[in-house]
C-alpha cells in the first residue's frame, strides 16, 4: 500500500468515526443528525475504496438522501421542543 | 399555533394582519386585525368644507376612487337637495362603471398572482392602463381623480373621450374571453379555487357580506337594481349570480361583472344626453342628515352625512363593504389549509384604505 492509498484509507476512516463520535455526544438531536450524515458519507467513501461504485452511489442516495431526511422528520415530529424553541 | 400573515406581507393587498390558528396545516381559527391604515378620514371630513373633503374621500379606496367620491357627493347633494342635470348623471354612471372595470381588473391580476400565475397578473394590469389613460384624459390624473363636484362634474366629457371609451371597452370585452381561456380551462386554477373558501347563503347574509362575494353564494342582490340611482334605471345590464360560494364562483361573478360594466359604458357613450354638466349648489348645508347607498366594486357602500347649517359637515360616516367582508373571512377559512389563505383572502377583494378609513 503506497503512502497515498494508506493516507486515503485513514482519512476516510476518520471521516466515518469522528462524526459518529460527535453525533453521540451532541445535545441537540438535529446536530446529531447532521453528524450522522457526515459519517454515512464516510462509509460511502470506504465502499469506493473497496472498489464498488454501485454501493457508493446507492449508499449516498438511500442513506444520505432519504434516510437522513426521515430522521430529521422524526426529530421534528417527536421533539416539540424544537417548535417551541422557534416560537 | 398562531401564525401572523402580515402586517407586512406581499400578498395581503394592504396593511392588515390576518392571524390564523393552525393545527399542522389546517386552519382552526382566525382573527383578522385591521387598523394599521387608519387615517381618521371621517374626522378630517368634519373639519373641512364639503368640497375640500373630496380629496380625502378619494383616498378611502384608492383603487375605486370614482365610486367613493361620487358616493360622498351624492350624499352631500341629497343633504342640500341639489338637482343634478341629466348629463351629469350619465357621466357619473359611465365613469363609475369604468372605475369598476379598472378595480375588477386589478383584483383579477392580484388574485391570480397570489395563486401563482405570473402572466395573468400583467395582462389585466395592462388593460387597466387603458382605462386609466381614458380617465386621465378627462380628469388630469391617473388615480386621484377629484372629478365630481356638488351638483355635477368639474369638467365635461368630449366626443373624443366617448369614442375612445367605446373602443377600449370593446377591447376589454374581448380580452375577458382570453382570460377565460387561460384560467377556466386550465385544471390547475380550478384545483386551487373550486371548493375552496366556501360560504353558504345563510352565513353570508348573517355576516353582512355584500357585493360579488354575496352574489357568488346565490343571493341576487345588487343595489344598482334594487334601488337604482342616477341613470342605472335606464341602462340595460345583467347581474351575474352563481351558487357555489367558493373562490371560483367569486372569480366568475367578477369576470362577468367586468363584461356587464363594459356594456354599460358603451351604452352611456351612445346615449349621453346634451346639456349642463353641473347644477347650482348652495354654500351651506341644512341642519339635517342624508344617507345614500351605492354598489361599490367590493359591495354595498353607504354614506351618512349630518349637516349643521354651516359649511362643514357635523358627522360623516362611511360603511365600507370590505370591512364587513373581512368579518366573514374566518368562516371561509375554517377547515382549509395554509396555502388556501392567499386564494381566499384575494377572492374577497379587500382594499385596506376603505377598511381602515
Amino acid at each position: 500500500m503506497t503512502l497515498r492509498e494508506d493516507a486515503t484509507f485513514w482519512l476516510f476512516v476518520g471521516t466515518t468515526i469522528l462524526p459518529a463520535l460527535f453525533a453521540v455526544q451532541a445535545k441537540d438531536a438535529m446536530k446529531g443528525v447532521i453528524w450522522l450524515s457526515l459519517s454515512l458519507i464516510g462509509v460511502a467513501a470506504l465502499f469506493l475504496l473497496l472498489g464498488s461504485t454501485v454501493l457508493l452511489l446507492f449508499q449516498l442516495i438511500i442513506y444520505v438522501g432519504a434516510v437522513t431526511v426521515l430522521y430529521v422528520w422524526g426529530v421534528m415530529l417527536m421533539r416539540t421542543e424544537i417548535m417551541e424553541r422557534v416560537e | 399555533m398562531w401564525i401572523n400573515i402580515g402586517p407586512q406581507h406581499p400578498s395581503t393587498h394592504g396593511l392588515w394582519d390576518l392571524r390564523i390558528k393552525v393545527n399542522g396545516e389546517v386552519i382552526v381559527d382566525s382573527d383578522p386585525q385591521v387598523g394599521y391604515l387608519h387615517r381618521s378620514v371621517e374626522k378630517i371630513c368634519e373639519r373641512k368644507e364639503f368640497i375640500m373633503a373630496m380629496p380625502m374621500t378619494e383616498r378611502l379606496c384608492y383603487v375605486a376612487n370614482m365610486n367613493w367620491t361620487h358616493l360622498y357627493v351624492h350624499a352631500v347633494e341629497k343633504l342640500m337637495n341639489v338637482e343634478v342635470p341629466d348629463r351629469a348623471k350619465w357621466i357619473r354612471v359611465m365613469v363609475c362603471e369604468m372605475n369598476r372595470v379598472a378595480s375588477h381588473l386589478f383584483w383579477l391580476g392580484a388574485f391570480v398572482h397570489d395563486i401563482g400565475n405570473l402572466t395573468m397578473f400583467l395582462w389585466p394590469i395592462r388593460e387597466r392602463e387603458y382605462v386609466l389613460d381614458l380617465l386621465e384624459y378627462i380628469t388630469g390624473a391617473r388615480m386621484m381623480y377629484n372629478y365630481p363636484r356638488i351638483g355635477g362634474q368639474v369638467k365635461d366629457v368630449d366626443d373624443k373621450f366617448l369614442r375612445r371609451s367605446k373602443v377600449v371597452m370593446d377591447m376589454i370585452l374581448e380580452r375577458t374571453f382570453e382570460y377565460e381561456k387561460m384560467l377556466d380551462e386550465s385544471d390547475m386554477f380550478g384545483v386551487r379555487t373550486k371548493g375552496v373558501g366556501v360560504i353558504d347563503r345563510a352565513m353570508a347574509k348573517n355576516a353582512g357580506l355584500t357585493g360579488p362575494a354575496l352574489r357568488a353564494c346565490g343571493v341576487d342582490f345588487d343595489v344598482r337594481k334594487a334601488t337604482p340611482y342616477w341613470a342605472y334605471g335606464e341602462v340595460d345590464f345583467e347581474v351575474p349570480v352563481y351558487d357555489e360560494g367558493d373562490c371560483f364562483a367569486r372569480y366568475r361573478v367578477r369576470l362577468e361583472e367586468i363584461r356587464e360594466s363594459c356594456k354599460i359604458v358603451k351604452q352611456c357613450a351612445d346615449r349621453m344626453p346634451e346639456g349642463e354638466f353641473i347644477g347650482k349648489a348652495p354654500r351651506v348645508a341644512p341642519k339635517t342628515y342624508a344617507w345614500v347607498r351605492h354598489e361599490d366594486p367590493r359591495g354595498e357602500s353607504m354614506c351618512l352625512i349630518m349637516g349643521t347649517g354651516g359649511k362643514n359637515a357635523y358627522r360623516v360616516k362611511f360603511r365600507s363593504p370590505a370591512f364587513v367582508n373581512i368579518s366573514a373571512l374566518p368562516i371561509m377559512l375554517l377547515g382549509y389549509k395554509i396555502p388556501d389563505v392567499p386564494a381566499v383572502m384575494g377572492s374577497i377583494d379587500v382594499c385596506i384604505g376603505e377598511v381602515d378609513r
Binding site: - | 396545516e25 375640500m52 395563486i115 401563482g116 384545483v191 396555502p339
Partner: protein
C-alpha cells in the same frame, strides 16, 4: 534540444514546448473545445507524448513535479476551473433567457439596459449581491446555515461535471453516470431541511419541511422514469445512451411517457412553477430562503439555476439525442449533418430550448398546493412510471438478443430499435386517446395563450410590448394633466382663494421679492409647499383670473426636502433654481472592503460597457414652469416662436421636447389655458369687487365643530 523522454524535461524545456502552440492553433479551427484542450495541454507540456510510469530523472524541475509526477492534480484543477467558468457563464445565460422570455410572455421586455439586450444584467445583480451583507438571524445555527448553500451548490457543480457535451468534451465519466447525477439531486431535500431549520424562523421551518416533502415526492418518479431508458439502452453511461440514440433514433419517440414523466419530475425537483409553493412569495415570504441574504442567497439562486441546467441537459442527453443531429440528406446534398455544426453547440442549443419550454410552462400555469402536489407525485406519477417500466421491460427482457437484425417493413432494424419503437407506438396511441377525450386541450390551453402573446410582442406581425422604455421613450401626457404648478405675475390679484381652498394648507401668501406687478395692492403671491400637495387641482379651479395653473411636467423628484418648497418667485419663473445633482453621481458609496476592492476595478469597465447612461433629470423647476408659461403665452395670442425660442435655448432637452409636444397639440386644439371651470359657472364671480369673494371675508371659525 529537448530530451526525448519528457521526464527529463525541466522548466526550460517546458517553455520550449510553448512554441508548439502555433501549430496547434491552425489545427484547432475544426473542433474548438477539443483543440482548446490540446492547446492547453501543449502549453503545459502534457501532450500525449507519453508519460511512461516508473521513469525517473535526476534533476526534477518544478515543471516536472507539478505537471508530470502530480499530473492528476493539475489535470483535475484545470478541469475544475473550466467547469466552474463554463457553469457560471451558463447559469448567467439561463437566468437571462428566463427573464427575457418570461417578460415577453407577459407583454413586457425584460432587462434592457445593462449591456446589449440586457446580457450583463445578471453580472450587475451578482455584483450587487456581493456588496450586500450576509445577514443571519442571531440565534441561527451557523454550522447548518452555512452548510445548506454549500451542499446545494456543490452537488450542482458535481452533477454538471458528469455531463458530457460531445464525444470529446467530457470531464468525468463513470460506469454509473446517470446514477451519479440522480444521487446528487437526492442531496437537496436534506440541504433544504437544514437551511429551513437553521434559520430559527417559524416560516422558514414550515417552508423547509414542505419543500423537503415535495422533493422526496419528486425523487421517486425522477428515478423511475428513466427506468425505461436504462432497460432499452442497457447502460447507465451517458455516452452509451447517446450512442444508442444516434444509431436507433431519439428516445423521446420510443419513450414519450417516460420523457413527460421525467420532465414533470425535473420541474418538481427544481421547484419551478407549477411546483414552487415552498418558495412562493405570497405564502411565506420567501419560504425556507427567507433568512438568507447577500451572496449566500445569490449562491442559492445559482445552485438552483445550475440544477436547472443539469436537469435540462439530462433531458437532452436521455431523450433528445444529446449532441446528435439526424443525418438528413436530400439526394446527395447534406441538409443537416452532424459534421457542419459542432456537437457542443447542438447540445447547448437543445438544452436552452428545453429550458425555454420550462419558462413557457412557468408563464402559463398557477402553482399547486403542496398536498395536491404530493397527491400528484405519489398517486399519479408513480404508477405511471411503474407502468412505463413494466411495458418496456416486458417487451425488452423477454426478447433481448442484442445485435439481432429483424426484417421490418421499414428495412432491417436491430432488435432494440424494434422494441423501442413498439413501446413508443403504444404510448403515442394512449396520448392520442387522451387528447381525443378533450382532457389534454384543457391542460394545454394556457400554453397556447402565452405562446400567442409571445409572438405578438416580438413585433413580427405588427405587435409590440405594451411597456414604454422610460426615460428613453416618453409617455404622451394629456394637456389637462395636473402636475407642476405655474403662476402668472400679471394675472394674480392676491385674493388668496387658493390658500383657503387647499385641503392640506400647502399654499401661503408671501410678499413677492422679484414680482413686477406695479399695483401695490397685489404684491403678495402664493408659495407652495409641494411636500404636502395632493395635486388635487382645487387651487387652480378656484383662481378667478386663471393665474395659477398646473402643467403636465411630472418629473418632480429631488434629493432634499428644500427642493419641494416652491417659493412664489420660483412658481412665477423668476427664480430659476435648478434641481440638485445627486451628491454621489459618478461615485458610489464605499463602505466595506468588498466595495473598496470591487468598485474601483469594475466601475470604469461596466460604465463603459453599459450604454444608455442617461443623465439625471437636470430640468429645473423653472424649466417646467416655463413650459406652463409657454402654454399660457401661446393661449394669450403670442404665437411667436422666436420669443419662445429664447426661453427654449437654456432648457434641458427633455423640457424642449415637452414644449414641442405641447405646441403641436395646442395648435391643433386651439384651446385656452384652462376650461371654464365649474366654479365660475356656478357662482358667476368673475368680475366682482374685492371683499365679497370667497376667502375675503373672515371665515366662520369652527362653527360646525
Amino acid at each position: 534540444m529537448a530530451p526525448a523522454n519528457p521526464f527529463d524535461w525541466t522548466y526550460l524545456e517546458l517553455c520550449g514546448a510553448l512554441n508548439d502552440i502555433s501549430y496547434h492553433v491552425v489545427y484547432a479551427v475544426g473542433d474548438l473545445p477539443h483543440n482548446l484542450w490540446n492547446i492547453l495541454a501543449a502549453s503545459l507540456g502534457m501532450r500525449d507524448r507519453v508519460l511512461a510510469p516508473g521513469d525517473m530523472t535526476f534533476h526534477i524541475g518544478l515543471a516536472d513535479w507539478l505537471f508530470v509526477q502530480n499530473r492528476e492534480i493539475m489535470v483535475s484543477l484545470i478541469a475544475a476551473t473550466l467547469l466552474l467558468m463554463f457553469s457560471l457563464i451558463n447559469v448567467l445565460m439561463f437566468i437571462w433567457v428566463e427573464r427575457k422570455l418570461l417578460a415577453r410572455f407577459m407583454d413586457r421586455r425584460g432587462p434592457m439596459v445593462a449591456g446589449p439586450f440586457g446580457l450583463l444584467q445578471n453580472v450587475w445583480d451578482g455584483m450587487k449581491l456581493m456588496t450586500k451583507e450576509n445577514a443571519h438571524p442571531a440565534r441561527a445555527d451557523m454550522f447548518a446555515f452555512f452548510l445548506c448553500p454549500v451542499i446545494l451548490v456543490g452537488s450542482a457543480f458535481a452533477a454538471a461535471g458528469a455531463l458530457p457535451m460531445s464525444p470529446k468534451v467530457q470531464i468525468a465519466s463513470i460506469d454509473l453516470d446517470l446514477l451519479w447525477v440522480l444521487m446528487l439531486f437526492a442531496f437537496s431535500p436534506y440541504a433544504i431541511f437544514l437551511g429551513g431549520w437553521a434559520s430559527y424562523n417559524k416560516f422558514s421551518l414550515i417552508g423547509g419541511m414542505r419543500s423537503a416533502a415535495q422533493m422526496l415526492a419528486g425523487e421517486v418518479p425522477f428515478f423511475l422514469s428513466v427506468g425505461g431508458v436504462i432497460l432499452i439502452t442497457g447502460s447507465f453511461r451517458f455516452a452509451d445512451i447517446v450512442a444508442w440514440q444516434d444509431a436507433h433514433g431519439w428516445l423521446i419517440f420510443a419513450q414519450p411517457l417516460g420523457a413527460i414523466l421525467f420532465t414533470i419530475a425535473v420541474l418538481i425537483e427544481l421547484e419551478r412553477i407549477p411546483f414552487d409553493l415552498p418558495e412562493a412569495e405570497s405564502e411565506l415570504v420567501e419560504g425556507w430562503t427567507t433568512e438568507y441574504s447577500g451572496l449566500r442567497w445569490g449562491m442559492l439562486w445559482l445552485g438552483g439555476y445550475l440544477r436547472g441546467y443539469v436537469g435540462c441537459a439530462m433531458i437532452v442527453l436521455l431523450f433528445l439525442g444529446g449532441w446528435g443531429m439526424p443525418n438528413y440528406k436530400l439526394g446527395e446534398l447534406p441538409l443537416l449533418t452532424p459534421h457542419i455544426i459542432p456537437p457542443v453547440f447542438i447540445f447547448l442549443l437543445k438544452s436552452y430550448l428545453v429550458f425555454a419550454v420550462f419558462v413557457w410552462i412557468r408563464s402559463a400555469y398557477p402553482r399547486l398546493r403542496t398536498d395536491q402536489l404530493l397527491n400528484t407525485g405519489w398517486k399519479r406519477l408513480l404508477p405511471a412510471t411503474l407502468v412505463n417500466i413494466a411495458v418496456a421491460g416486458f417487451l425488452v427482457v423477454d426478447q433481448v438478443r442484442p445485435g439481432e437484425v429483424v426484417q421490418t417493413p421499414f428495412g432491417p432494424m436491430s432488435q432494440e430499435t424494434v422494441v423501442a419503437w413498439v413501446v413508443g407506438a403504444f404510448t403515442f396511441l394512449a396520448v392520442a386517446a387522451l387528447y381525443s377525450m378533450h382532457l389534454l386541450p384543457r391542460v394545454l390551453q394556457p400554453l397556447v395563450s402565452t405562446a400567442r402573446m409571445f409572438v405578438q410582442t416580438l413585433g413580427w406581425f405588427g405587435g409590440r410590448p405594451f411597456t414604454v422604455l422610460y426615460p428613453y421613450e416618453r409617455l404622451e401626457v394629456p394637456l389637462s394633466e395636473r402636475w407642476l404648478h405655474g403662476l402668472s405675475d400679471e394675472k394674480c390679484i392676491s385674493c388668496a382663494r387658493c390658500c383657503r381652498i387647499c385641503p392640506d394648507n400647502c399654499l401661503n401668501m408671501v410678499e413677492s421679492q422679484m414680482g413686477q406687478h406695479p399695483d401695490p395692492r397685489f404684491t403678495t403671491r402664493p408659495a407652495l409647499d409641494a411636500s404636502h400637495c395632493m395635486f388635487c387641482g382645487l387651487c387652480v379651479e378656484v383662481c378667478p383670473t386663471g393665474a395659477l395653473t398646473m402643467g403636465p411636467n411630472f418629473e418632480l423628484a429631488g434629493f432634499s426636502r428644500d427642493e419641494l418648497y416652491w417659493s412664489q418667485d420660483q412658481l412665477m419663473g423668476y427664480d430659476k433654481k435648478t434641481m440638485q445633482e445627486h451628491p454621489a453621481k459618478g461615485e458610489i458609496e464605499v463602505v466595506t472592503w468588498v466595495d473598496k476592492l470591487l468598485y474601483p476595478l469594475l466601475t470604469p469597465v461596466l460604465q463603459f460597457v453599459t450604454p444608455h447612461n442617461y443623465e439625471r433629470a437636470k430640468g429645473s423647476h423653472s424649466d417646467a414652469n416655463v413650459v406652463s408659461s409657454a402654454v399660457r403665452e401661446l393661449a394669450g395670442g403670442k404665437e411667436d416662436e422666436r420669443e419662445l425660442g429664447l426661453i427654449m435655448d437654456n432648457m434641458s432637452p427633455r423640457s424642449k421636447k415637452a414644449v414641442e409636444m405641447l405646441l403641436a397639440e395646442m395648435r391643433t386644439r386651439r384651446q385656452g389655458p384652462r376650461d371654464v371651470s365649474a366654479w365660475d359657472l356656478r357662482h358667476e364671480r368673475k368680475h366682482e369687487p374685492k371683499g365679497s369673494g370667497f376667502g375675503e371675508t373672515a371665515p366662520e371659525e369652527d362653527e360646525a365643530a
